[in-house]
């Protein structure tokens, strides 16, 4: 192994009621990509925050290049050469690409920002990161770029500050497949430069294609550390979960049961029928039908119109055409309230921006949509609310200190369960799930997947959107594939396989285009 750049030794960190890190040690070596994995609450984010100066450890040391360091804050850590790239992109969308890149260290001339030099240097830097830009492109506002390109700018910016260590916290969660490939090239380039990379991700594929070493955290302690090639996927999952590898093998990688469709054959009426859904520029005449107890997958690459289709069905996005029928009855109005009343509910893709109401409590978030039913003449019925909240917190195993805890303080997986509870307490007929397991840890993911199975078993119709092929394939009875806002394929039965799906996703657009 090459020289240790960053060494975390015996770090302990406690929060009121939680022992977040217990004697954790981690060594990042120059020119190696180190994977940090673990379930939610395992202590990954706390560890990152200790390394990057956000938290101060209660015990233990952080050493950079052999010297113990004490950071007063993230900026000091950054100056010392530890750069962090967070899931969300911390840039200014309205400023130009070049300005974002050089924010706080713009090249100057006569005391003013030297825009021409700045743009020229931005082009040079970004080309190194595989972005095909020219001086006109870097002068445009950042938001003109795609999310993936924005992520590259964020990385270029972070690494530009003479980084010796780069911490990436789920860098691919908003990237398309193609952009992930570019990101990996960048990571390889960083590695070649002798930079130590800490890579946090839930996606096993990514870990195995880019990482050299791995450290597994469970309950705040290191349960395994070593070369990634020494442990296979199943071994890694079982280390994270603390479960037996054999049990994981027999249960499959996802928690979906394999026997779908028994309910489907029996019942032939439709619980949801969406015909010719149109959303200008986004969705062009997509039709979907879901039977009770059926899980219909909606596949497609980023930007194919999956989320927009689901939103348009749920009334969250204005339909420019098309009809929605629930149990044979047509929705008259194109609003969320009308859809909810009819029993169609949407779990939105962006949990933070569109799902949770962060400063309200878990209780308030759960009952939010059900308030009219949990109240009499506009007055809240406290007792009835408590019962509903207690039932769903128990059934979905929502981990919170109390129902009165702020929902923003929960982990991603628990927030997602709160949102599910918000809809389930309305007893919906159709669940539209947009990336229900994105950004949540392995354990919660399995729970959510199992829950989707159970709900379908209870007779709900489910529309499942997922970017993860295995989730889509194992979770769905049928898969409708979208491309550029049109349904281009439907896979059913034995055809629901990764090969068929990849083929449908990757095939060239047909000449006629319309379905």
């Amino acid at each position: 192994m090459s020289a240790a750049v960053l060494q975390v030794s015996d770090v302990d960190k406690r929060f009121p009621g939680v022992h977040a890190l217990r004697g954790v040690s981690l060594t990042l070596a120059a020119g190696r990509v180190h994977a940090l994995v673990g379930e939610n609450g395992a202590g990954k984010s706390t560890l990152i925050k200790v390394m990057t100066g956000v938290y101060r450890p209660d015990a233990g040391t952080v050493a950079l290049g052999g010297e113990p360091v004490f950071f007063g804050g993230p900026i000091e850590a950054q100056r010392a050469g530890i750069s962090t790239i967070y899931q969300e992109i911390n840039l200014v969308p309205l400023m130009s690409v070049a300005r974002n890149l050089f924010i706080g260290r713009e090249p100057r001339r006569f005391g003013l920002v030297d825009v021409r030099t700045m743009n020229r240097r931005a082009v040079a830097v970004l080309r190194e990161y595989g972005l095909d830009v020219d001086t006109a492109a870097v002068a445009r506002p950042l938001r003109a770029l795609g999310l993936g390109a924005q992520q590259m700018v964020a990385i270029a910016r972070a690494v530009g500050v003479e980084a010796r260590v780069v911490v990436m916290d789920e860098p691919t969660s908003s990237l398309e497949r193609r952009e992930v490939v570019t990101l990996f090239e960048v990571i390889r380039r960083l590695r070649a430069k002798g930079i130590a990379v800490l890579y946090v991700s839930h996606r096993l594929d990514e870990l195995y294609s880019i990482c050299d070493d791995v450290t597994v955290l469970r309950d705040g302690a290191v349960v395994h550390t070593g070369a990634l090639s020494d442990v296979d996927r199943l071994g890694l999952v079982s280390l994270m979960l603390g479960r037996d590898a054999a049990a994981v093998r027999s249960d499959g990688v996802t928690a979906f049961s394999s026997d779908h469709g028994d309910a489907v054959d029996a019942v032939d009426r439709l619980v949801l029928r969406a015909e010719n859904i149109e959303v200008r520029h986004r969705v062009h005449g997509v039709s979907l039908a879901i039977r009770p107890g059926e899980v219909v997958g909606l596949g497609g690459l980023l930007g194919s119109g999956r989320s927009e289709t689901a939103k348009a069905i749920a009334g969250g996005l204005r339909r420019d055409g098309g009809t929605v029928e629930v149990s044979g009855r047509r929705l008259r109005r194109d609003t969320v309230a009308a859809a909810v009343r009819a029993g169609v509910v949407l779990l939105p893709e962006d949990r933070k921006a569109e799902g949770i109401v962060p400063s309200l409590s878990v209780r308030q978030n759960i009952v939010l949509a059900a308030l009219p039913r949990l109240s009499r003449a506009g007055l809240l019925a406290g007792r009835k609310q408590d019962e509903v909240v207690a039932y769903f917190m128990d059934r979905l195993r929502i981990k919170a200190a109390s129902p009165d805890q702020k929902v923003a303080e929960l982990s991603g997986g628990n927030q997602q369960k709160v949102l599910l509870a918000r809809w389930l307490c309305l007893r919906p007929k159709v669940l539209l799930l947009d990336e229900p397991t994105r950004g949540i840890d392995v354990g919660a993911k399995a729970e959510v997947q199992r829950l989707i199975d159970e709900l379908a078993g209870d007779g709900l119709g489910v529309l499942l959107i997922s970017s993860e092929l295995e989730e889509l394939i194992e979770g769905s009875d049928r898969v409708v594939v979208l491309r550029e806002g049109r349904a281009v394929a439907e896979l059913a039965g034995a055809d629901v396989t990764e090969r068929h799906l990849m083929h449908a996703l990757a095939s060239e657009p047909e000449a006629d285009g319309d379905d």
């Binding site: 949770i356 962060p358 309200l360 939010l368 506009g378």
Partner: protein
């Protein structure tokens, strides 16, 4: 993120300041006042304070409701002017009718504000700024530029008389405070206000009646401002639409902010708003009593606003 880097001790201190600072401020002011003037609490001065406080308080409560939805209502002063202009026009029939017309005027102004914000999607500060300018113009057209004397027994009772030793208008304010607390804590509407203020997109996707909620908060603010206008006219025994309620929107925003309601929405502190209004009132009274020049008083008020905003700034983080 950056807040987390601050010492936790420090954070706790800021949180305490946000949650209880205004109450501590009131206690300190009262202590200073009684120390300097042992008769302070007993003096009839307290009644005078109440008369000055209540109209601002009513306006502040409406303002707090609007601010909880991440909005603001700059037109409250103009609504007071409208009420002052409408009152003399209808007093000839019957005081009750005149008051009802005033409140209806406030309701209408709030409705227009709400429609601009909720339906047309105009930013609250712009929508209500337009209303603030235009409505005062309307009020002066109704009334003319001259103040009119208003000598109606019902109105002056509302403005001056007491029941059980407490001014009627203070009882009114108490009723409004209790009603608002109830509204926020115990009704679906209150929950909707907080949810819409905290995350409007999520609220919309959860099927909440977002437009109706926004419309309603501006109507509440309008009606409360009109009520404040009625009290001001009754107390002053004159209707002066050109001057009554001038700058009261700023006093109200100050009271709300000092009371710990963040301008970013999603939270409302009703009792805190009362305390905020009371604190600012006590502060200016204290300074006047001790002949501190007005310019210094203004600088002090500004400092207090800054501290309050600083303390309320990190509502999201732990």
């Amino acid at each position: 993120m950056t807040e987390l880097s601050l010492g936790r001790q420090h954070l706790r201190w800021v949180g305490w300041l946000r949650d209880y600072g205004v109450y501590a401020g009131i206690v300190v002011l009262l202590a200073v006042d009684t120390a300097l003037n042992p008769d302070f609490l007993a003096s009839s001065d307290l009644r005078v304070q109440t008369f000055q406080l209540v109209p601002t308080l009513l306006v502040s409560l409406g303002m707090a409701t609007v601010i909880a939805t991440e909005g603001v209502d700059l037109s409250v002063g103009a609504v007071i002017a409208l009420a002052a202009a409408l009152l003399p026009l209808y007093l000839g029939y019957n005081a009750g009718l005149a008051i009802a017309v005033c409140l209806a005027g406030g309701l209408l102004a709030g409705l227009v504000n709400g429609l601009m914000v909720a339906v047309a999607g105009v930013q609250p500060i712009v929508a209500t700024l337009a209303m603030m300018i235009g409505l005062r113009g309307v009020a002066v057209i109704f009334n003319g530029n001259q103040a009119k004397p208003v000598l109606d027994p019902t109105l002056s009772a509302l403005g001056l008389d007491s029941v059980l030793g407490v001014p009627i208008m203070a009882w009114l304010a108490l009723a409004v405070v209790l009603a608002l607390v109830f509204l926020v804590r115990r009704t679906t509407f209150g929950q909707h206000v907080l949810a819409v203020g905290d995350n409007r997109t999520a609220s919309r996707l959860a099927g909440l009646p977002v437009r109706r909620v926004l419309l309603t908060v501006y109507v509440i603010a309008g009606v409360l401002a009109a009520a404040a206008g009625v009290l001001l006219v009754g107390h002053g025994a004159e209707a002066d639409p050109a001057n009554q309620g001038l700058n009261i929107e700023l006093a109200a925003i100050t009271a709300v902010v000092v009371g710990g309601t963040p301008l970013t929405g999603g939270r409302i502190r009703v009792v805190g708003t009362v305390a905020g209004a009371l604190f600012m009132q006590l502060l200016s009274a204290t300074l006047i009593q001790h002949d501190v020049p007005n310019s210094y008083a203004q600088i002090l008020e500004a400092a207090i606003i800054c501290v309050a905003v600083y303390a309320a700034r990190d509502r999201g983080s732990r």
